[in-house]
Amino acid sequence: MHFRKRAPSHSAPADNSVGSPIVDGPTVGPIIGAAMEIDGQHTPQQVIAGLRATGEGEDLVQLLTPEGQRVSHPQFDLEISPAEIRELYRDMVLVRRADREANALQRQGQLGLWAPLLGQEAAQIGAGRALAPQDMAFPSYREHGVAWCRGVDPTELFGIFRGIDQGSWDPIATGFGLYAIVVGSQCLHATGYAMGQRLDGKIGNAETGEATLCFFGDGASSQGDVHEGFVWAAVYDAPVVFFCQNNQWAISAPLDRQSRVPLYRRARGYGFPGVQVDGNDVLATLAVTRWALRECRTGNGPVLIEACTYRMDAHTTSDDPTRYRLADELEEWKLKDPLERVRVHLVREGLAEQEFFNGVATEAEELAVRLRNYCTSMPAPGPERIFSKIYAEPSPSLDSARAEHLAYHASFADREPGSEPGSEH
């Protein structure tokens, strides 16, 4: 059926190379293609290679191999200090730990649901750390790592998954939009926001200019709203970077259910650059996203980035991946783990001492304890929450509905406390 190792069920005509399924896991190959989109610095051979949509990864931008080897890239190289690399590593360890703790809290009934980011730490930290304070980010529902980079504490995400609220942070103050559960919807919000950045004249300066970063998935790429986001952004030259985390799966649907070719190729058809980056390589993701945001700040937006990564856990805690994918696929991706390659790099190059790793490990455990304590002591909202802040302006009809319901509610002396959130998908 839909195992990415096999040809897609509706396989493309044999004589049509564009039809073959894509297998674009991070591999080290001739670094070409991605650059092709942006400038003329490429040989015809590279162009043709780039055109052949076999998706064998020859377009993939990579700066750190799965083996922890630093490689260079003609266009997307990165000036980065050991301290900065250690910081990125620390970020990834901490968000992974937070993710695992949240997953455990769901198992123990403290959360109704959790959408794990496991495996996508490099894509999210690399992109998140590329953001400047003045930028805005619009997430989907799995961007816990990006939230971390925006200073949104994991505890602020818990309300959504515990059934207490729908996002408690301030999108404006944090520069981090609310989670968007309707797949693709946020791509239009991000585009509109970026149109506003341009209307406000915040474009032009590579340092102080503003940009917007929009997160969506491989599955989302099929939604009409994502297309319309691309169209509007191109027509209004909106300073928005469309950051697609291609984690290979949309619940049970592998990439071949969404596209014949790598998703970054879409950008070309709208007249803006598309780059495919190794999403398990935090350095490459940081470099490419920084470049893309800079393009936007200076007025050259929009840009599409396809970050190739892998959803190492279930779609959500309600999902059972064993029904649709083979375990060895996961094993294979473990060899490309986004944290391990940085650890190996730091050690091999002697950029970090053991106590650094110990320190980060301790910090992670402390974080886990803090999250657990917070979560288990979150107060449940009262019935009035149902009627809270639906409108900005007065609503007499809702006021009376609230009063009526609270009176009715009060009429029960010994009402049961609200039941725990159950399962969902």
Partner: protein
């Protein structure tokens, strides 16, 4: 528009155009966006001249896609703008339904007030212009059933001028319906007369025989029916709902308690409509006052028919008077 006290005759279309101008003059964050709203001034010329006077930065000709129009307006609202979106015709609002229902209507609640959605969605609605399919619909009930939205319908040039400005000034999303077949009707606008609040229904004519409620394009129909009925000595009390969500039914309850009879008129299919809501609420609130069941005069529960049939489809003066006979027969 001259701000002198001198009343002037304007069409409903002009009323909205002038109202938009006033709102754009008053607040630089107000922007107009939609298909063909710029140089063309919209297919009904409602935005005529706005791009010329306010520029392309404030009057945006968008690509062709309703979800894109509303979705980007949501993003612009997050950024602090007050977008006024035009949906070219009632029948083309559905591609934007998801963005309206799951995003525009809910972001204030979802963010618990941290995000405001001062977005106006202008929709010319209703039939009677001999158009092809999808150009004559009355989708207002879909929005009235959607929590988080405010829905209003103007019925005359003076309301049009004021209500569009009030809708733009409102910090909540407002679905703003314009009775397209009344765009060219005229009335005298006197700027020295302050408008009523946006979310209030309005008594247009007093009478003791029966109460008739309408909104948008059928208000004129009902007023004409009242004039004819008067010849037979029947006094209709006519109320223009103006606000469809929230409904302002207190004046209707008062009226029905006096008249004991109610007729609700709307072009939309009646089934599961906001007119059904009015009938249900009045039947409950005025249970002891009603001397006859609430009667509804609406479009049929059919797709909007080919134009040559619309004269039959649309509630007209005769059908209102027929309902009057029936409601008086009890």
């Amino acid at each position: 528009m001259a701000t002198t006290g001198e009343p002037q005759m304007i069409t409903l279309a002009k009323g909205i155009n002038q109202g938009l101008r006033a709102a754009m003059d008053a607040d630089s964050k107000v922007i107009v966006m939609g298909e063909d709203v710029g140089r063309l001034g919209g297919v009904f010329r409602i935005t005529d001249g706005l791009q010329k006077d306010f520029g392309e930065q404030r009057v945006l000709d968008t690509p062709l896609g309703e979800s894109g129009i509303i979705g980007t307006a949501v993003g612009l609202a997050v950024r602090g703008y007050r977008p006024v979106c035009e949906i070219q015709f009632d029948g083309f609002v559905y591609p934007a339904f998801d963005q309206i229902v799951t995003q525009l209507a809910r972001l204030h609640y979802r963010s618990q007030g941290k995000l405001r959605m001062p977005v106006v969605v202008r929709i010319p609605h209703g039939g009677g212009i001999g158009a092809v399919e999808h150009h004559s619909e009355s989708p207002e009930s879909y929005f009235a059933h959607t929590p988080g939205l405010r829905v209003v319908a103007c019925s005359n040039p003076v309301d049009a001028y004021w209500m569009i400005q009030q809708a733009i000034a409102c910090d909540d999303p407002v679905i703003f319906f314009e009775p397209k077949r009344r765009y060219w009707e005229k009335a005298s606008l006197d700027l020295s007369v302050a408008p009523p609040p946006l979310f209030r229904s309005r008594l247009l004519r007093s009478g003791g025989t029966a109460t008739v409620v309408a909104y948008g394009p059928t208000v004129r129909t009902v007023l004409d029916a009242a004039t004819v009925a008067e010849r037979d000595g029947q006094q209709l009390e006519v109320i223009d709902l103006r606000t469809l969500s929230p409904l302002d039914l207190a004046p209707v309850f008062d009226s029905v308690r006096r008249t004991g009879r109610l007729i609700c008129v709307s072009e939309a299919p009646g089934e599961a409509s906001l007119i059904a809501e009015v009938a249900a609420r009045v039947s409950q609130e005025c249970f002891y006052s009603l001397e006859a069941p609430v009667l509804r005069v609406t479009g049929f529960d059919t797709p909007y028919p080919p134009a040559k049939c619309e004269e039959d489809y649309l509630p007209d003066l005769d059908r209102v008077l027929d309902a009057l006979d029936r409601v008086l027969a009890y």
